[in-house]
């Protein structure tokens, strides 16, 4: 065989493999692939996703085989990794960072029989579902606690990228901190990374040096928690229980619990009932949880936080309930009005009272 014709037939074979990839045949193991933005040992965002993956293995046992690739940059590399997974016979692929959105859609087009699940994005297709958690519900509760606990009235916020999810978190936390403590002020630092422990630690140090005594973060590693512990201030964990890193510093932690969702979706592939959908779960479904409160949080503040959490679960309270103005003073939500999911999903403005501008 000449080299050129060999290449053509190899490409053809690859193409056929591509078309055939993903179809589940009875009796075969379902393969689930996971693409992670950080290392599984980050003890934050990626760690929690991997806990979900392990739950899938534990729950579905022999029926399933999982693989993952960690520390995949949000760019061309992501596309390559997803393509490789699909060619490797994955039936369902979870892509677990906002920045994988376009790559997921692109690769999904090439492999119509493979199911894709993209976390925190908004682009869907027949074989692409999206899922996310209502982290802002958790942020509302920790905002309340922060407003009650701060002595300096300065709360530090380590933000990653200016995307709706992060902005929503800042707004939710600010509104509720301000509600219980009108003097509260937010200092926001954008670090433009999900995972860079040294930079996250530097940001925490900078905030503390400027008088902040409570730190919230929207980055993936427990570096800020470690610094808060070392400097003797308070902090909230992110994505995972970080009390190991800040036994005295951590007041509570927002926990992302992906396990039930992952088990359900992989099971749907096994049963052949998988359909493209959009999932946005919160406290009620258990996708967002809080780790146990620290003893430092007084009983009445704990009760207040629990009451808010319960009200959100019952549906009697929504963290974005009017009256709320935008940062420029224009009205966003009228008295008693509740924000709809569409606006929340694309939130690109600060609420009134937050200083500074959102990087564009």
């Amino acid at each position: 065989m000449k080299r050129r014709s060999f290449l053509t037939s190899a490409a053809l074979a690859l193409g056929i493999a591509g078309l055939g990839a993903g179809a589940v045949t009875a009796g075969e193991k379902v393969k689930a692939g996971f693409v992670y933005v950080g290392p599984v040992g980050d003890f934050g965002w990626t760690y929690q996703h991997d806990q979900g993956r392990q739950a899938v293995e534990a729950e579905l046992g022999e029926q399933v085989e999982t693989t993952f690739v960690e520390s995949v940059p949000e760019g061309a590399d992501a596309e390559r990794v997803m393509t490789q997974m699909a060619l490797g016979g994955a039936n369902i692929i979870f892509t677990t960072s906002f920045g994988y959105m376009d790559a997921t859609i692109k690769v999904a087009k090439k492999f119509p029989n493979v199911k894709f699940e993209h976390a925190t994005g908004y682009k869907r297709a027949d074989n692409v579902s999206t899922y996310s958690a209502r982290f802002y519900e958790g942020r509302a509760v920790i905002g309340t606690i922060a407003g009650r606990m701060t002595k300096t009235n300065k709360i530090g916020y380590i933000a990653s990228f200016p995307i709706p999810e992060v902005i929503r978190g800042i707004n939710a936390a600010y509104i509720h901190a301000k509600k219980v403590n009108p003097d509260v002020e937010f200092k926001i630092v954008w670090v433009y990374t999900w995972f860079d422990p040294a930079k996250e630690a530097d940001a925490a140090t900078a905030l503390i040096e400027q008088g902040v005594d409570v730190i919230m973060q929207h980055t993936d590693s427990p570096a800020a928690m470690t610094i808060a512990e070392a400097k003797g201030i308070m902090a909230f964990g992110q994505a995972s229980d970080m009390s190991k890193f800040g036994p005295n510093a951590q007041l509570t932690s927002i926990i992302d619990n992906w396990a039930p969702y992952y088990v359900e979706r992989v099971k749907a592939v096994i049963d052949g009932t998988w359909e493209s959908q959009d999932t946005w779960h919160g406290f009620k479904e258990g996708m967002v949880q809080l780790s146990p409160y620290s003893d430092k949080v007084p009983a009445d503040v704990q009760a207040e936080a629990e009451a808010m959490k319960q009200a959100i679960i019952d549906g009697t309270y929504h963290p974005f309930t009017g009256p709320i103005n935008k940062q420029d003073g224009t009205s966003w939500l009228a008295e008693g009005e509740v924000a709809d999911d569409g606006v929340l999903a694309s939130m690109n403005f600060y609420v009134e009272g937050i200083e500074g501008e959102i990087p564009q």
């Binding site: 290392p39 040294a198 900078a206 905030l207 040096e209 500074g356 501008e357 990087p359």
Partner: protein, 310 residues
């Protein structure tokens, strides 16, 4: 905006902490390059040093054995590079890149049991009278001992290269290995030693990160610091004092931009975030423009394979 919220004294103190890991790695790499070898594996040696230092510090309960282990681990890893490039004459660029990948994987493997463990605190300098001085106390006399160690290292390297006979031989090897060989110097042996020194420094830089600056172990925690150290050596045109200047400039602007953000400075964040890199590039352009015609003082044999044929 409230610039008064930024305390310059604290800022200077954090600047030194932030700059020390890249300073250590860069000063080591500078010696390696002065000997005519380009080792792109700095990142891999740093992260390996970070976990080995962390692990030994945790096991022994004291940071000093940890730092020693980090230096040994970095030097040990660099020996692989030295053997491949100096004995088997492999390509230095490719081997260095492979060393980085290897180091990242190896450190993740070693580090599995150490995630979430707290390292023992490292001692700070505390001189009864000096440390309590206003302004100068916090800036000069209250750091972790390693910060002073890194400064001493810069002085040591500078004096070694400039005044000692061994330093002169090392530079000769880096400038023209054939001539050095003809004079009877052991080019390969000298380069082995330089590469190990560079590895030890990178390992120490990594351990500073995992034991003092962050202090915790997470996979991939160097997050590109090794590459910055490499760029810094070029930036400094292979001079120790400029390495120090460059590291403090880079660390300083990194810390400053975070502080400016926290103070609510009305400059778009994107510019603040890119400022450390921009300033580094600008200074580099300035230095190279000033010395028209010369090749930035790069050692003439840098990256070239040496094979003794006679």
């Amino acid at each position: 905006m409230d610039l008064s919220a930024i305390d310059p004294v604290l800022l200077l103190a954090s600047l030194m902490i932030s700059a020390t890991p890249i300073l250590l790695a860069a000063i080591g790499e500078m010696v390696v390059e002065k000997a005519g070898v380009l080792n792109l594996g700095v990142e891999g040696m740093m992260i390996t040093g970070a976990i080995c230092g962390f692990a030994i510090a945790v096991e022994s309960g004291s940071p000093f054995p940890g730092l020693a282990a980090a230096a040994l681990a970095g030097a040990g890893l660099s020996l692989i590079f030295a053997f491949l490039t100096q004995v088997l004459l492999s390509n230095q660029v490719a081997t260095g890149l492979a060393l980085t990948l290897f180091g990242l994987g190896l450190s993740a493997l070693i580090g599995k049991p150490y995630a979430g463990v707290k390292p023992p605190p490292s001692p700070r300098l505390d001189i009864p009278f000096l440390s309590d001085m206003p302004v100068l106390g916090p800036i000069l006399f209250r750091h972790d001992l390693m910060v002073y160690g890194s400064l001493a290292l810069v002085v040591g390297v500078w004096a070694f290269l400039k005044y000692s006979r061994a330093g002169l031989i090392l530079r000769a090897v880096g400038e023209n290995h054939d001539a050095a060989h003809a004079l009877g110097y052991r080019v390969v042996r000298i380069r082995f030693l330089a590469i190990m020194f560079g590895g030890a420094c990178a390992g120490l830089g990594g351990a500073f990160l995992s034991l003092i600056r962050v202090p915790q172990w997470t996979e991939g925690m160097t997050a590109g610091a090794g590459w910055i150290a490499l760029a810094l050596v070029v930036f400094a045109s292979w001079r120790p004092w400029r390495v120090l200047l460059g590291a403090y400039l880079f660390g300083g602007i990194t810390v400053l931009q975070l502080n400016l953000q926290a103070a609510g400075l009305a400059i778009p964040v994107e510019y603040l975030s890119m400022s450390p890199y921009i300033v580094t590039i600008l200074v580099l352009v300035y230095i190279s423009a000033r010395k028209r015609g010369s090749s930035l003082d790069a050692p003439a044999s840098l990256g070239r394979v040496f094979h003794a044929t006679h």
